[in-house]
């Protein structure tokens, strides 16, 4: 399969009052055309920052210290903000966010907002736009699209708004979608409907998605490949099947075993001692070593590089 997006050694720091925060420290991952790629990790591990870096959406106090983000062989980090806005964002790579309520403008109708996106990114005559809006809304299975498009965001539920976001994205026909925790604000029954829509789009349109979440159960429903992040670094890149059947990094193993499933008991659940380090002063060497039961002296001295252990499976651990 063709590589659509490749992140190499990405380093991002934020300047704060307390000092620089090394949010990303050498992130490496590759997204293949037509696949769903999960990016998982706990709060503050840098998964959202990674998504924002791809689209040039980082906050003003962010500093990109190194690395490359290759999209079809062009380095997105070298493009001017204006160029990204005109040629990449929305058109080639689109993004949807956790809170669908704050992603839509409350003052405009759904039709208005989707049409605006089409106008900006696609050459389509005005009279065809309405049809494109309708088609996009139907693709995400929104009922009664003809009337729904004249509604305002506050008249829709959270699940519907999130589907409008997907429709808006589809109307512009991007090659890659970045979805940052899109179902976290939704109830399970609405989440199940949303997942189903995404699965259908995957089959029909061979969409490529970078799916950012902390929820391993959702990953198992949707993704083909997964990158596990811990404290600003990639711990492991692997297939979704390997994530559950053959995880190698001690953090990945613990993470998988701490997720509640339908058959787990309290005794089976593993806990990870300690808590996620603050990135203002991260531990030296492997950033997981203070919480790792398998740590050896070298773990506190040298950061382990990502090494390939088999096809589509690389791990950053001195013990593997």
């Amino acid at each position: 399969m063709e590589e659509l997006l490749k992140i190499e050694q990405l380093q991002v720091a934020f300047s704060t009052e307390e000092g620089p925060v090394e949010a990303l420290d050498g992130v490496e991952l590759t997204i293949l055309q037509g696949t769903f790629h999960g990016l998982i990790g706990e709060t503050g591990c840098g998964k959202s920052v990674t998504g924002q870096a791809i689209l040039g959406l980082l906050d003003n106090n962010a500093l990109i210290k190194g690395g490359r983000i290759l999209y079809r062989d062009q380095d997105l980090l070298r493009l001017s903000p204006r160029k990204i806005e005109r040629t990449i964002r929305g058109k080639e790579i689109a993004m949807i966010f956790q809170d669908p309520g704050s992603s839509l403008n409350p003052l405009f109708t759904i039709k208005n907002q989707i049409e605006e996106a089409i106008r900006l990114h696609r050459k389509a005559p005005a009279e065809k736009r309405e049809e494109m809006v309708l088609q996009a809304l139907k693709q995400v299975k929104l009922p009664d699209a003809e009337n729904l498009m004249y509604r305002y965001p506050h008249q829709l539920s959270g699940g519907m708004k999130q589907r409008v976001m997907i429709a808006m994205m589809l109307a512009c026909n991007p090659k890659l979608l970045i979805a940052d925790e899109p179902t976290t604000a939704l109830d399970v029954s609405i989440q199940a409907q949303f997942i189903k829509v995404l699965k259908e789009l995957k089959e029909k349109l061979s969409l490529t998605v970078l799916y950012i979440t902390h929820d391993l159960a959702v990953i198992s429903e949707l993704c083909d490949y997964v990158s596990v992040m811990y404290a600003g670094r990639i711990a492991e890149n692997l297939s979704m099947r390997d994530l559950f059947k053959d995880p190698r990094h001690p953090y990945t193993i613990k993470l998988v075993n701490s997720v509640l499933g339908a058959t787990t008991t309290l005794d089976q659940l593993e806990e990870i001692p300690g808590s996620v380090p603050r990135l203002i002063n991260p531990p030296g060497g492997c950033r997981f070593h203070p919480r790792c039961e398998e740590a050896i002296p070298v773990c506190s001295q040298e950061a382990p590089p990502l090494r390939e252990i088999k096809a589509n499976h690389s791990v950053a651990c001195h013990r593997r």
Binding site: M160, D187, Q193, L216, S220, L260, E271
Partner: protein, 315 residues
């Protein structure tokens, strides 16, 4: 069997709104047996948090009764409730908001002891605080810290410690781990479980997370639009959910296992507004088995032979 510690009969809480009363809790019946762990699941807006607040008399019910140890406490005022606050403790959802940022951990945990006059002198206070901290896996040195110096998981353990320190009969837990990462969730759940066993406590959990309730509860209840639709022993409900909503809800939970994929969407549509709930059974617009009587007659919560109760005309 056990004795009933808390009982709720036809409890209602309606909030006024310009569009008419919001029926957040609309006729809930349930019993919590002493020494058990009752877990109530429901989606956002189903009224579970309001229910907990009415049961604790933090909100006045619109109708219905709340019993504690067989005594009707519905009409109790602030003063009458005070001794009961020692018996009915609560742990809140968001540990970042539940702790006073200007108090040290010692102040936070010792405050309920002082209020209820449970410790004589500073020495005794100190002993009890330290013991409770240890039970929650924290050290003595944490006493002098402020909440902002602690991680989310540690803060929630302080929240639990504050509830435990007065040795209550029952602890109400409102989504105690939903603000936490999975890696720290396990620790809280295990500490809670241990505390319950050692102190013979009763728990009342509410959560939107069915897998969480499954792990922590012995008795399970399912709430939909202000009403309990099904309740009973956990094993029975999980093995063979009866109410169409319970079935749909359980089937919608994604499993962290690539071999188990959600194949069928059983719950379609959205939850109706609690301002204007449907007539009859309030699940009828989304129910795949709907019959004409479901649109007219509200089904009552009936006890079945296997020990569960279900509010559905099919049973």
């Amino acid at each position: 069997m056990n004795s009933t510690l808390v009982e709720v009969r036809n409890l209602k809480k309606h909030f006024p709104s310009p569009a008419g009363p919001v029926k957040a809790v609309d006729g809930v019946n349930l019993k919590i047996e002493k020494g058990t762990s009752f877990g109530l699941v429901g989606e956002s807006g189903c009224g579970k948090s309001t229910l907990i607040r009415v049961m604790l008399k933090l909100l006045e019910p619109t109708d219905g009764k709340v019993f504690f140890r067989g005594k009707d406490i519905t009409g109790y005022g602030f003063r009458q409730m005070r001794p009961l606050r020692k018996e009915m403790a609560m742990v809140f959802q968001d540990p970042h908001l539940a702790l006073n940022p200007r108090m040290t951990v010692f102040d936070i945990i010792s405050r309920p002891l002082k209020i209820h006059g449970l410790a004589r002198g500073k020495g005794e206070l100190m002993v009890q605080v330290v013991e409770t901290l240890k039970a929650m896996g924290l050290q003595t040195e944490h006493m002098i810290r402020f909440p902002h110096e602690l991680s989310g998981g540690q803060k929630q353990r302080i929240g639990v410690a504050r509830a435990l320190v007065v040795e209550p009969e029952i602890i109400f837990l409102d989504e105690p781990t939903s603000a936490l990462d999975v890696s720290v969730q396990t620790k809280i759940l295990k500490l809670l479980d241990k505390a319950r066993r050692e102190r013979d406590l009763t728990f009342f959990f509410i959560s939107h997370d069915i897998n969480l309730i499954r792990v922590v509860a012995d008795t399970m209840g399912v709430m939909y639009l202000g009403k309990i639709v099904e309740t009973g022993p956990k094993e029975i409900l999980l093995e063979d959910p009866h109410h169409p909503y319970t079935r749909g809800l359980f089937a919608a939970v994604p499993e962290p296992d690539p071999d188990k994929i959600i194949t069928e969407i059983k719950l379609t549509g959205e939850v109706p507004s609690p301002v204007n709930p449907p007539d009859g059974c309030n699940f009828n617009p989304r129910c795949p088995y709907v019959q004409s009587r479901c649109r007219e007659i509200e089904p009552e919560l009936k006890e079945l032979a296997d020990g569960r109760s279900v509010a559905c005309h099919l049973y």
